[in-house]
């Protein structure tokens, strides 16, 4: 035990010593630049999702057979697809669908997962055992497979994809939340609060919950990227909404058969997915550092 603590302390000291110097330099330079870039990308795609009509030069569903399969050029930045649609406009409008799936499924999955985890962790006992075994069962099924099963059972459609991705992400959130609650609820200040007569619900709302949330912020930020990927994967497999303008995964799938003839149909929605997911992940990393009291970056 003693040995372990010594080891942990040593690792901690080393990490702080090693981490600080280069990180100070990095934070000022490359890292900051990356963050600004990522912010630009995220803001741009959010704008695309909110006001696509301002950013897209053409109506996304306008099919003009006389301009089908044009390569990228000055009049069509991303080229055109085989329907003769302007691919840039399709991608801009597609961001609405993709971001919606990403954000909505994180909200749904994160909230329900957090709720389950919080109840489970705080209540303990039989409640904990039942909820956690259920979550364990969900966890045994790989995420994408679970999403696929849900989507296949409910049929194609945008909200079904949201639900599918959300269900698949519940176990992760529940586990993290429960772990956080378990570790926070035995901390001295929480016990102190209980010992001077605070009711369990007051302890929970004022002490336990607020101090358990920060990993969840990080996780859900990273989760947006993962959800967009999963959602794109599902609509790539043909489970999306066919009556709305296609999301990034659906465009990617439509271009798949044309890879040797018109690479741009698949390439640009692919870039959009990569750029957005990467940017969101960079933010997630930054947020983790920012919220981590040990890294202590906040004060400096």
């Amino acid at each position: 035990m003693r040995q372990e603590t010594a080891l942990t302390r040593w690792i901690g000291r080393e990490r702080i010593a090693r981490g600080r110097k280069p990180s100070a330099a990095r934070r000022g330079g490359t890292q900051r630049l990356l963050l600004y870039g990522a912010a630009a990308v995220v803001i741009y795609f959010l704008a695309c999702a909110i006001v696509p009509q301002w950013l897209a030069p053409f109506p996304p569903m306008e099919m003009r057979m006389d301009r089908s399969l044009l390569p990228p050029g000055p009049s069509h930045w991303f080229g055109t697809d085989y329907y003769g649609r302007d691919l840039y406009s399709v991608v801009v409008y597609g961001s609405r669908q993709s971001l919606l799936v990403g954000i909505a499924s994180v909200l749904a999955g994160g909230l329900s997962g957090a709720l389950l985890g919080a109840v489970s962790g705080y209540a303990g006992g039989l409640v904990d055992a039942v909820i956690m075994r259920a979550v364990d069962v969900l966890m045994t099924v790989p995420g994408l497979l679970l999403a696929l099963a849900v989507a296949a059972a409910l049929g194609p459609g945008r909200w079904n994809i949201v639900l599918a991705v959300a269900v698949a992400s519940v176990p992760g959130y529940a586990r993290v939340m429960r772990g956080q609650i378990l570790s926070v609820k035995v901390r001295p200040y929480v016990r102190a609060s209980a010992s001077i007569g605070a009711s369990p619900s007051r302890v929970f709302w004022t002490h336990v919950l607020p101090n358990s949330l920060s990993p969840l912020y990080v996780m859900s930020t990273l989760g947006i990227g993962a959800s967009i990927l999963a959602g794109s994967g599902l609509s790539f497999l043909g489970l999306g909404d066919w009556n709305a303008s296609p999301d990034w995964g659906a465009i990617l799938s439509q271009g798949r058969g044309y890879m040797t003839v018109a690479w741009w149909i698949s390439a640009f929605p692919g870039f959009a997915i990569t750029a957005f997911v990467l940017s969101v992940n960079l933010y997630g990393d930054w947020l983790r550092d920012f919220l981590d009291p040990k890294k202590n970056a906040r004060g400096k």
């Binding site: 306008e62 099919m63 003769g84 043909g238 009556n243």
Partner: protein
């Protein structure tokens, strides 16, 4: 070596020995000996003069989907027919130019009333399992197809007028029909009516599809689910139709059908040489493969009914001719076919495909898209554009449910997407319903206004299945078009035996269907395969199915 043992003919054995001796000398010496043995030395001049075929080798062929069953009576899938065409033979053979020739039947006659067909059978044929081929075997086959417990599908639809069969003598069989049927003889050449071994059919029952036994040029070896199907040469084979150069056993040692569903992978497998030929080449890849000197493209337009959109007239307002005509004029078929199929697929103009008996070329370039006229027609019916541009009448929006199947085969979902945009322009909202359960939605619930379909067939009587009010096979017609005049035409077409009169009937029926906007024909579906130039003499029948009797592979 098995080959040597099984050949009892001393001449053949001698030819093979000489083949072995001269194998190292030159290719032409070796192969002329082989072809001499194959065509029973009947025409030594011919085989010496022409480039002599090379015996041996494995033909690898990439299939787009896995067959459901290799039982010809049960499966109706194209992909299955492509495989079992090599395992089974039919009674008659249909040449590429629609001529009926002898195959397992050497000659036949029709009674004057057109209701009795008598077939004399070849006497030198036996099944892969050793069962002799005779009139009894043929009778058992047809009894099996009409037996409801077999659950025959397509095969049964070719026998709508069939009543019974009887054994006249060991090598003569007679079919009795309920009504004269002009299509009967031609349909006997269909792969679905191929002859299976009665012994195997009895032994395996419904499992025959996993253990196919026929009289064909190749014997079944194994079927690895979703991976490959392997066939080997039938060394006893000696009964190919005259249309082939080689009536004897095939040149290829084995044929391996590899199942490669992903389009890009299938094309990649061909380009990298993992397979020597592939089926179902997507239209956008045809140009590139054509320009590649290593491959040839073979395209066969299917006979029968082209892919057409059926307007469900059970749903108002589509029971009104004007409303249907609005769709007919509002959908720009040329644009669809050009955009999606790059001129590789032909546009269809008639409910029959070109080349099918009865096809009327006068329909070509008949109906042209005219959006203004389409709008006028809908205006006349009282459907006025609402705020969002979608037409309304009595508070109801003009909405169409367009049903298509999952997955996106032959870009049919893309057709739906284009139709959705085109009809929006004339104020009709299209909801796309893509479902795995097409037969439930379409055939049982009739929950659609537009649904696309087509079928391969040799005879215009295929129209009956899709357009007759009662469909004759028991299926409801896709259009729900309830019209005594069309029904009468189709019924007469089935039984008329005089070709000239029959032609007239079917031409009238086609015009009637187009004039009444029952369907909107879209494209004639071709089967496009890409074949390595190492493969020679890969042949196709009238339906575009593979025939491997003459095929050779060069290394």
């Amino acid at each position: 070596m098995t080959l040597l043992k099984r050949n009892r003919n001393p001449m053949t054995a001698f030819a093979l020995v000489s083949l072995l001796l001269f194998a190292g000398c030159s290719a032409s010496a070796g192969s002329s000996a082989e072809s001499g043995s194959a065509s029973a030395s009947a025409e030594p001049g011919r085989s010496a003069a022409s480039q002599a075929p090379i015996s041996g080798g494995d033909l690898t062929y990439g299939l787009a989907t896995s067959p459901d069953s290799l039982d010809p009576h049960v499966s109706g899938l194209d992909v299955a027919s492509r495989v079992f065409r090599s395992i089974y033979d039919s009674l008659v053979f249909l040449t590429e130019d629609n001529q009926i020739k002898p195959w397992l039947a050497s000659e036949w006659s029709v009674s004057p009333d057109g209701k009795r067909y008598t077939f004399k059978l070849r006497q030198d044929v036996k099944f892969h399992d050793g069962t002799p081929f005779n009139a009894e075997a043929v009778k058992k086959n047809f009894d099996r197809i009409v037996d409801p417990s077999t659950e025959a599908s397509i095969a049964l639809s070719y026998l709508t007028q069939y009543e019974s069969s009887e054994v006249v003598d060991p090598y003569t069989v007679r079919f009795n029909l309920k009504k004269p049927s002009a299509a009967f003889l031609r349909n006997l050449s269909q792969p679905s009516l191929a002859i299976v071994s009665p012994t195997a059919a009895e032994k395996y029952g419904k499992q025959l599809g996993q253990h196919p036994v026929g009289t064909g040029p190749f014997r079944f070896v194994k079927w690895e689910e979703n991976s490959e199907i392997k066939l080997e040469r039938n060394p006893d084979y000696n009964w190919a139709p005259d249309a082939f150069d080689n009536q004897g056993k095939p040149y290829l040692d084995t044929v391996t059908f590899k199942i490669i569903p992903e389009e890009a992978t299938r094309i990649g497998s061909l380009q990298s040489g993992q397979v020597l030929a592939i089926e179902t080449v997507p239209a956008q890849n045809v140009a590139a493969l054509k320009n590649d000197s290593r491959f040839t493209i073979a395209s066969h337009d299917a006979l029968g009914l082209p892919f057409a959109l059926f307007i469900n007239e059970r749903q108002a307002p589509w029971n009104d001719l004007k409303a249907r005509q609005a769709l007919q004029l509002g959908i720009d078929v040329d644009a669809i076919v050009k955009t999606l199929y790059f001129g590789v697929y032909k546009r269809a103009w008639s409910p029959l495909a070109p080349g099918t008996f009865g096809y009327d070329p006068a329909l070509e370039n008949g109906i042209q898209s005219d959006k203004e006229k389409a709008k006028r027609l809908l205006d006349e019916l009282g459907w006025k554009p609402g705020k969002d541009g979608i037409r309304e009448k009595d508070g109801k929006k003009l909405t169409i449910r367009y049903v298509e199947s999952i997955p996106n085969k032959d870009k049919k979902q893309d057709i739906a997407a284009i139709v959705q945009q085109q009809l929006k322009e004339i104020g009709v909202a299209v909801e796309l319903h893509f479902t795995k359960d097409v037969s439930q939605v379409v055939l049982m619930d009739h929950a659609y206004e537009l649904f696309g379909g087509g079928t391969a067939g040799l005879d215009p009587s295929a129209l009956t299945t899709f357009y007759h009010t009662h469909g004759l096979t028991g299926w409801p017609s896709l259009s729900g078009f309830d019209d005594p005049k069309l029904d009468e035409l189709l019924e007469r077409g089935e039984t008329e035996l005089d070709d000239a009169k029959r032609l007239e009937i079917y031409q009238e029926a086609q015009h009637y269907i187009v004039d009444h906007a029952v369907t909107i024909p879209i494209y004639v579906s071709p089967s496009i395969s890409a074949v390595s130039k190492k493969v020679e003499n890969l042949k196709y029948d009238a339906l575009g199915y593979l025939l491997l009797h003459d095929t050779t592979v060069r290394n």
